[in-house]
């Protein structure tokens, strides 16, 4: 296997899981522009700078122990301002994906939330709150969890923030020829996105 190299041909040391993330933030010099910029930093347990530092050091456990990356709302301020030109928002995303892929328990809730959200969008081209939240509750396999949200749900419903309106679904075959019901053909859009993401 050929080793990865920097522009000047310096081979780069590797670390298993975090490799792709480390790659993105190696050049970080801890100037703190990202932390200063971050709108959600107040809620984070670690500042973005702290997180990158841990990534540089390969502190996988600490990183995934932190909620920081899940709190990133992808405003892209840090990416815009990073003097090193690092793709920080993307790196936050990568961490989210990693957490999901690895099925890290601590982040189950968050990753399931994301998952449920995107599945609904994929199906309807929009958020259908009822299905979204049901998918989410279901994924957590905790029958008592929905109870805690009942009053909020009813309140929202009364105000017309969520509706029970049923979608008109059309049957569409996926790649494997399996028929699924969608509100429109968003699968292509999602596939295109996947392609683009794979390219970058």
């Amino acid at each position: 296997m050929t080793r990865k190299q920097t522009d000047l041909g310096i081979p780069v040391g590797e670390s298993d899981l975090l490799e792709s993330v480390q790659e993105k933030v190696r050049a970080c010099m801890q100037c703190g522009t990202c932390s200063g910029s971050c709108a959600n930093a107040f809620a984070m347990d670690l500042t973005p700078r702290h997180l990158w530092r841990l990534a540089q050091l390969g502190e996988t456990e600490e990183i995934f122990n932190s909620k920081t990356f899940y709190l990133c709302s992808a405003c892209y301020y840090c990416t815009l301002r990073c003097p090193r030109g690092l793709k920080l928002t993307e790196t936050m995303g990568a961490l989210k994906r990693l957490a999901a892929d690895q099925g890290i328990k601590k982040h189950k809730q968050s990753s399931n939330f994301y998952d449920a959200f995107i599945k609904t969008v994929e199906r309807y081209g929009r958020v259908r709150e009822i299905e979204f939240i049901n998918r989410y509750f279901f994924s957590l396999k905790d029958p008592f969890l929905p109870l805690g949200f009942t009053s909020l749900g009813l309140k929202l419903m009364r105000k017309g923030k969520i509706s029970l309106q049923l979608p008109i679904l059309v049957p569409i075959k996926d790649d494997k020829g399996k028929v699924k019901y969608f509100e429109g053909r968003f699968d292509k859009l999602f596939r295109k996105v996947e392609e683009l993401e794979a390219r970058s």
Binding site: T6, R26, G32
Partner: protein, 1143 residues
Amino acid sequence: MKKKIGSTLVVGSGISGIRSALDMAEQGYQVTLIDKEPHLGGVLTQLDYQFPTDHCGMCKMLPLVERDSSSQYCLRKGLFHENIDIMLSTELVAMEGEPGKFQVTLRQKSSIVDQERCIGCGECARVCPVEAPDPFNGGLTDRKAIYLPVPHNIPNAYVVDLDACTHCGECEKICPTHAIDFGKEERKKFRILVVDDELIVRDSLKEWLLDEGFDVDMAESGTEALEKMSKEHFHLKLLDIKMPGMDGVEVLKRAKEIRPDLPVVMMTAYATVETAVEAMKIGAHDYLMKPFDPDNLIPLIVNLYHDIQSAGVKEMEVGSVILAGGFDSYDPSTGKDTYGYGLFPNVVTSLQFERMVSGTGPNQGKILRPSDGKEVKKIAWFQCVGSRDQQADADFCSSACCMFAIKEALLAKEKSEGQIDTTIFYMDMRTFGKDFQRYRDRAEKESGVHFERSRVHSVETTGKDDGTLRVAYADTTGTKHEEDFDLVVLAAGQRPPTGAEEVAETCGVVLNPWGFCQVEGFSLSRTSSEGVLVGGSFSGLRDISESVIQASSASLEASRLIHSKGGGLAEEVSPETGFRDVSREMPQVLAVLCKCGGTLSESADFDEISSWLEAQGSVTGVHAIDSLCTHEGWDELKETLQGNSANRILIASCMPYVYARKLRELGRSAELNPELMEVVDIRTLAFPGRDTEKEAVHQEVRAVLSMGIGKLKGMDPLPVATSRIVQKALVVGGGIAGMTAGLAIADHGFEVTLVEKAAELGGNARTLHRTIEGHSPQELLEESISKVEKHPLIRTHTGAKIIYSQGHVGNFSTSIEKEDGQGETLDHGVTVLATGGIEAKTESYSYGESEAILTQHDLEEKLAEGGVEPANLKTVAMIQCVDSREEPRNYCSRICCQSALKNALFFKKQNPETDIYIFYRDMMSYGFMETYYSEARKAGVIFVPYDVGQKPEVSVEDGRPRLSALDPILGREWLLEPDLLVLSTGVVPDAGREVAEQFGVEVNQDGFYQEAESKWRPVDFIKEGVFMCGLAHSPRSIAESVAMAEAAAQRALRILNSDRLASGSVVAEVRHSLCALCERCVAFCPYEARHHDEDEEMIVVNELMCQGCGSCAAVCPNSASVLRGYRDQQVFEVIDAALENVV
């Protein structure tokens, strides 16, 4: 002085261009100094205050010997030197030939204003209706389209900004001396051919152009146009692109065949712009966009007309070219501009701030908010704007901004008497230069400048629309803060100068990836094109001292080249004799009054003044001239002097500065020593609009004239003394610096003795094996040693030491003890001290207690010997700033960060699995070195900042170092057990103090040689004739040492060049019969130009060293010491004259 055969072109007249030009001129070459701007001085014209004195001092660059060859006044004001031709608004447009014999073409833009006739009265600017942002004040103020480029420059003639000018002609009408000429008369002879298939276009163009006074002809097709061209002569062709039949591009091609020199301007609609651009490539002069609006079109054509008609083209041959184009500043409004530059008026660049504190700035030096003119109470400086920012395409550090910011913060403190709060936001404070660290510490501790290690992400308003700016940032611990500031100053980074690419192409030099001039190998001044040298910031932003050093290195190389091509041979200049001996005559003053073209007639009566003058005792003639500044006027003066018996000339006109050079010429033609001529300014006094009565003006004018006469009467100029020079050099120290300096001097044909205390030449370079850039010091070393050994003019003594030295510039005598114990006494005219430095010893961090603890130097040697196997290293730690940047060794050794980066990258390359930790305070990867810092980060080197108050701790257990340190980001301790712990201990001088004592020169508190002036005379000692270079001056890289050695050689050559050197006419002398030998003058002389000759029992003045400051005269109670030109009697006469009317 001997004049050398050979000449040089210096492109750019900033500080480095001036230094190079003066160097070459002082050596006796003919220099042409050009600048594309209409003024001298580059960016420094805008900067009044420079670190570390926070004032100026630029004048210290002026010649110290042969002083009369150049101007002797403020260098910011202007410059002249007998060997320098200055051409402003001029660009280098072509260069051919070979090194030693280049043919260069220079193109000088017309300024519309006759620079000789303009008297700077400013009437034109008063009537000019156009306002444009004034670049001199960084756009903070407006100026007119006709303006003074720099208010304090002389000659202070106005120039026209043709881009802004509407050609209304008001200025031309009002100019009292008819200096402004838009060439309307000439336009009749300027024939324009308009080629367009559309009648309406042809007709309207013709009408407009005829209105403007041009001669116009038309053609409706390409064919017709070509036909007309072959028959008649035109000066300009306006050519439509889209035409039936032959299109414009085709016509252009053919036209170029018939009349290649005819400027053709393409006319195009939007759709064919790309074609127009193509046309430019095949020779079109420019293009104009349709549809035409006469208001826009006419000025464009008139500009073209001026461009074509009045551009002076000059061709000449030069031996070498020095590029000193400087740099441009990053424009923070380009790119992402998260700081709102250009949006928020209170966000300014550091250069604009510099203007704000200047007396010639927008508020005469008061620091007020640009938004509302309110007093500024709080300022933030943001570092690294457009530097160290890959998103701004800047993986480099601009090197100078950190010091710039500290200086500005101190200026803000000083101007506000400490009232302004100052905060500098930074990533690394790069205080890597000599004495920078102490300056920073003083700013922080004594002046209360606040330093905040944080990169601010953006600037916002407070939302109250009051101009106040809100800055949010996270500190090192991650805590967020919000703070309001009145002013945010952006340290805008360096960018290559405009036109860099064109110049590079013209001269065939290679630019680096960022567009700066690429330098070669270990040289900081050689470009990829032989004979073309680079000085100053054109190869990357430099502070003044580095620029000056590099400029001298460039001139040395330029001179060496000319010399090697046979051009440096001296030619004796006829001595400046031929002055009449008037010492036995009674003073007879001819008074010459300039009426300033009649502009002063309202406020002063010249007849009355003339008759008053005639009544003055020693005045033998009075002559009034209409305009002395014109050629006619000056010729009239010369004529008047022909056969006139007057032996003193008093010129009453304007700005005495302007006349300094002219008087020298006049002196030659009239055979009268220019010291016997005095210019007094009566124009400022008699200028209309001063709201003073005529009688009061007369009284002032009389006083000033009387003072001039008083001064002249007492003048008894003696021939300027010359001193013999031993044209040999002694170089002490045989390292790279010493050898480079020795070779540079010997290559100019002068004998050099090189004395090295070690058994072999080479010094520190012997133990250096690679540089971070990948160059090989060993190759350089071998090459240098071999050249030194083979050079017929260099004698080398290794294993030798200095015993004793005495003498003064031009005549030193030094005894050495050679390796065999034999003594030898050397006579030499100059001394270069290159005694080097060594790595500092340390006892910190358990050094010496474990084999695994090394210094960077130890590591370098071990690596070279193969004593360290990178593959076996699991963990390496490096600690920077060991015992450095804190008292008593409170300076940055500049090279340790590079060494650490170099070695870290080496380890990573050998074994990427090695964990490398660098514990640092501020990474000093200045300039393009920053790339390697980025590289090291990318390679996974872990950098841990530490605070001087909380250093890493090292202990040794079982022979293995253990290191603990706080990671401020993570807020926790690092515990490492590195296989290697490498300490960057920095550099200390080797033999500085001892050798300095022997040669009677100074060292600073750290034992490094003390330069005469850190910025302007960085390689000189105060004691003239002794120069320094290399590590003995301060820590520096090999390339920087080489540059400094070349600079020192350059300074030495200016002395060695002649067998006799002259001082200046203003020098001190001693009246021995009155002298009581109290030696107070000896102690007071700042130049050590005096000594008590005990044998002769007299105080002797070394006229070459004497700079004419007169402090000896003032300290002498009975005026046994006097300064020529300022004798007591003269000053008394002047005082008497000044008070003549006071009763």
